[in-house]
């Protein structure tokens, strides 16, 4: 194909990809902000603002000391600009007049903000089958359906509140999956995390509602460091959804979160994320730096954890939701769609660590790169010597759009016993203009053609998402790609 047509096709493709970001507005609200910078005093201040028990302050300070000693990881296939950690606000909360008792006490501006994001927190309109914890900058605003859930013995609350109300559970589980010193960003998070969600499903309970946290970064200078902890007791089951957006600023904001999942005997946790942070503009200015540590522990026999993620936002994504399979016959699964466009960079994947006998893991990764973006899959499958009769199936597919995007796969497999079965498949394909011309010749429009090809490519992952999310994810990807094929 000649240059001219390449140009028209790529221009159209670019327009398709560069559809404007709908969640780029910011909310002007009176805030309680602490000064920029990070030292022991900052941490003490955060802890005292939240009236935390001493054990947690000690946890934070230990993490801070650790953080100061370790380095940012450099192994990822990412170009990360220097981040000045002293130029970040570590606590920013909308000013609340009094302690919230019910939704009427919530600032109407905050309600409107979430309303605009499609998240209704008010009684009448909220989604009937999803309970939501809404996090705005550093704090949780409200958690819906708490009373209904408590009838089942399910605890679903903000992390701050959990620390005060259920200190024993927090003491037992916080940091038990992702240790303080696990990596640079987890140490930072452990030192300064401000809020997030906590959820506990008691024995023999299947959560009647899907639980969900919606994260909103609003402030331009603050980082968001949230922490989610989910514990599924024996024979329990929960579906958890996480959504996130941020305003459109031309500076970068840091998001360094930790998610810890603990699945006891026979329990099931399905954790889904549709990540739509602001990804920066078409010249690569602005956007969220997303450094997230997510890990699940299948501690009991027959436990099951699945991670499903649709990653579309963020200027930089560094994220490897993982499963550690201790229990015999426990299972971990990872389903991922990562889409990058313009100057976005993503280095994402998973780790499946098999300790227990007859453990199984499955990895389905779909990377889509358009524009000048860089998209890498990085995975580790490790089967320890005692994990006999274990199995892993991995499939990593990449789809390139246009001629300037970049896609890489770094799968690492380490097997320490001989009674293990591993399968790995990988493919790279490209949406080319000959394919598009074929659609056009059959009377199918460009937009429809792209939508069809993308959703076909992502089908296996979308099938794992809850219904509302699957439709949203499909729409989101098409939106993000609008104009990028021609």
């Amino acid at each position: 194909m000649n240059n001219k047509s390449n140009k028209t096709i790529n221009e159209n493709l670019t327009n398709l990809v560069n559809k404007s970001y709908d969640y780029g507005f910011s909310t002007n609200i009176e805030k309680d902000i602490i000064e920029k910078g990070l030292n022991e005093q900052t941490i003490k201040l955060i802890s005292s603002k939240k009236n935390e028990p001493l054990f947690l302050l000690e946890f934070r300070l230990k993490a801070y000391k650790k953080w100061k000693r370790i380095q940012e990881p450099e192994w990822a296939n990412l170009k990360i600009p220097m981040i000045d950690y002293q130029n970040i606000v570590y606590y920013s909360a909308p000013k609340l007049k009094k302690k919230l008792k019910d939704l009427n006490d919530i600032d109407s501006q905050l309600l409107e903000t979430f309303e605009k994001l499609g998240i209704s927190l008010t009684e009448q309109k909220r989604l009937s089958n999803v309970a939501i914890d809404a996090v705005f900058d550093s704090v949780s605003i409200t958690t819906t359906f708490r009373e209904e859930l408590s009838e089942y013995g399910i605890i679903f609350t903000s992390m701050s509140e959990a620390i005060l109300t259920y200190p024993e559970l927090i003491k037992e589980y916080l940091g038990s999956v992702v240790p303080i010193g696990d990596n640079y960003y987890s140490a930072l998070n452990s030192a300064v995390f401000t809020d997030g969600s906590f959820c506990y499903i008691p024995e023999n309970v299947k959560s009647p509602l899907d639980l969900s946290t919606y994260f909103r970064i609003n402030d331009q200078n603050s980082g968001q460091f949230e922490r989610t902890l989910i514990v599924a007791d024996k024979n329990s089951q929960v579906n958890y959804l996480e959504g996130c957006t941020a305003p459109q600023y031309d500076t970068n904001q840091l998001h360094a979160a930790i998610v810890e999942l603990i699945a006891l005997e026979n329990s099931i946790i399905n954790y889904s994320t549709v990540q739509n942070w602001y990804s920066g503009n078409e010249y690569g200015k602005g956007g969220i730096y997303n450094f997230v540590t997510k890990r699940g522990l299948c501690i009991g026999d027959n436990a099951y954890i699945s991670w499903t993620q649709v990653e579309t936002g963020s200027a930089i994504t560094w994220k490897y939701p993982s499963c550690v399979l201790f229990g015999n016959k426990s299972q971990g699964e990872f389903y991922s769609v990562a889409l990058t466009n313009n100057y976005q960079q993503a280095d994402t994947g998973t780790k499946m660590i098999h300790f227990g006998k007859s453990t199984k893991s499955k990895i389905i990764s779909k990377g889509i790169s358009a524009g000048k973006s860089k998209n890498s899959y990085r995975g580790l499958v490790q089967v320890k010597d005692k994990a006999l009769n274990s199995r892993n199936y991995s499939q990593c597919d990449s789809l390139l759009i246009g001629n300037c995007s970049n896609s890489n796969t770094f799968p690492i497999i380490s097997i320490q016993n001989s009674a293990t079965k591993i399968e790995h498949e990988a493919s790279t394909s490209k949406i080319g203009e000959e394919q598009i011309f074929y659609f056009l010749q059959r009377g199918i429009s460009l937009e429809k053609a792209i939508e069809l090809m993308i959703s076909g490519f992502c089908q296996e992952v979308f099938n794992k998402l809850p219904l509302e999310f699957a439709a949203e994810a499909d729409k989101l990807l098409t939106l993000k790609l609008e104009g990028s094929v021609g």
Binding site: M1, N2, N3, K4, S5, T8, I9, S429, E433, E434, Q435, F437, Y438, F439, L440, Q441, R442, G443, I444, S445, K448, L452, M453, S455, G456, F457, Q459, G486
Partner: protein, 253 residues
């Protein structure tokens, strides 16, 4: 000439790609009810011609015009040309991973319905429609669940093109080397499909290297292309002569 029978009228066409002229002084008139064959050596511009008619964006039209039903289609997009009734059976049908044949065919069918303000059909109705048509080209229903052309044999790909042609029911079909790579049985099936499709309201342009196809489908005219233009037009006899003597002999004269 009664112009209302004139379906396709290509006048003095000059076309380039990357600054290379590949069609020049190209003239062709195709009337309703006619089958034309275009033959020629590799690189003589046969495939280019088919893509230019279908509106491939890679080619620049420098001079001349293409009239379809008496209206110029030069500024009409490829998808609209398709709706208007121009169909191209590709020489190398494209594989589309992740998209099922059924979805592809239904989308294509409904896009055309929409264009003519006709109601779109739902998947169940469509299944009935497409199953009928598939019988015409001896395709089993299992093929609907497979991805478009992915892992298809050469013969299956070509049959899929003919199925799409029958389904979309265009006015003019350009079949670009639809016979190449087919065994004799597949060739018969495809020829039968094409002959059944043909009637007095339609026209077909066959692009081919071999006379073999013309044993099954009888063209009214045979054109020979060289260096981007038609250098000789004749009847079926011309194709036979070519088969015997080769292009070199013809070019010498």
């Amino acid at each position: 000439m009664i112009t209302k029978d004139l379906l396709l009228n290509v006048k003095d066409l000059k076309v380039s790609i990357e600054n290379n002229i590949i069609l020049e002084n190209f003239n062709l008139q195709v009337k309703k009810g006619e089958i034309h064959a275009i033959m020629g050596t590799n690189g003589s511009g046969k495939s280019t011609f088919s893509k230019v008619i279908a509106g491939h964006p890679a080619y620049s039209i420098l001079e001349g015009n293409i009239l379809f039903n008496e209206k110029s289609i030069l500024n009409i997009s490829p998808e609209e040309r398709s709706h208007l009734g121009i169909f191209l059976a590709f020489q190398y049908p494209i594989e589309i991973p992740g998209v099922s044949n059924e979805d592809f065919l239904r989308l294509s069918y409904n896009a055309r319905q929409r264009f003519f303000n006709k109601p779109e059909v739902d998947p169940i109705q469509f299944l009935q429609i497409v199953t009928e048509k598939m019988k015409l080209v001896n395709m089993s229903s299992s093929f609907l669940n497979r991805n478009v052309n992915e892992g298809f044999s050469g013969g299956e790909k070509k049959r899929n093109e003919i199925l799409q042609m029958i389904l979309l029911d265009p006015d003019i079909c350009i079949l670009d080397e639809t016979d190449s790579g087919l065994d004799i049985d597949a060739l018969k099936i495809i020829s039968k499909g094409i002959n059944n499709f043909m009637n007095q309201e339609k026209a077909i342009i066959l692009i081919t290297h071999y006379q073999r196809l013309l044993d099954y489908i009888n063209p009214k005219y045979v054109h020979v292309m060289q260096k981007g233009k038609i250098i000789k037009t004749g009847s079926l006899e011309l194709a036979k002569e070519l088969e015997e003597k080769g292009y070199q002999q013809l070019f010498k004269n």
